[in-house]
Amino acid sequence: MATIDLFQLREHFNESRILLCFNGPISRSLIEEIGNALKNYLQADNAQPSAAMDVFSVYVELTQNIRHYALAHDYDELQGSATVVVARDEDGRYLVQAGNMVEHADGEALLARISALARMDKAELKAAYKAQLRQPRAEDAITGAGLGLIDVARKSARPLRASLSRIGARHAFFSLCATI
């Protein structure tokens, strides 16, 4: 087996201005621990308190969405793995990207939802958020019931970008990027 070229990996991270990345099975406590590290990195990076809170908030919503999705579909640890990257772009903005495996049909529905959100302006997103907040909740629901993605879209300075890559016949890798 070839060894992984850590130097090359590091160069790639540096060139892409990646502050933090994670790939693997994710738990409730891991979300909290990585979130803690993220808060510290942002502080060390001299992020504005409001930007730091937005980055943290998008990170929490996206990773908790991945957890809820994996639990709802009885995925095992590996299937429920999350890939998370927080980086800076050329303009110094923060990029928060998260991806996970989904059922292909769900991935298509998510893409449609993201492109609908990407077309809305700030006022429309706020109205959608408030309408969703007022939706009655199913008795057994434990999530924010669809609020998360709207919240992420509201915090993103640029329209959300999403992509879907097929994995076999049934599954796909869904990836979402927000800009703070």
Partner: protein, 126 residues
Amino acid sequence: MNDLDIPASQSTPYVSTRWEAGLVSMTGDSYPENSFEFFRDVIAWIEAYLAQGDMPLRLELRLVYMNTSSVKAMMDIFDLLEAAHAKGRPVRVDWFYDPRNERVVDLADEFREDCSFPFEIAPDGR
């Protein structure tokens, strides 16, 4: 009804209730995975308190970051206060924030838009 005294954790706020004083306090970040489970006892306490007598109720909040499921649970709490207010019960919310973090004002202000009872948002002076 027993008062609550729930210590803060990494992802949940400190919560305390004082039946005799008609006071509910919450301080810290709130982003548990299952917010409804976390807020269930607080909601039950507030429902029980508002179901009896005519004593005022005040919420003293120093919440900083909330995930969307916590926001939804908090909306349920404010709906209880709104209903009590409509029946003439004195209820109010005082939300204190660290002036260095304007996002907390945005968060609190969006709640206040949907409430007609007294709802103060003030920089924390303590």
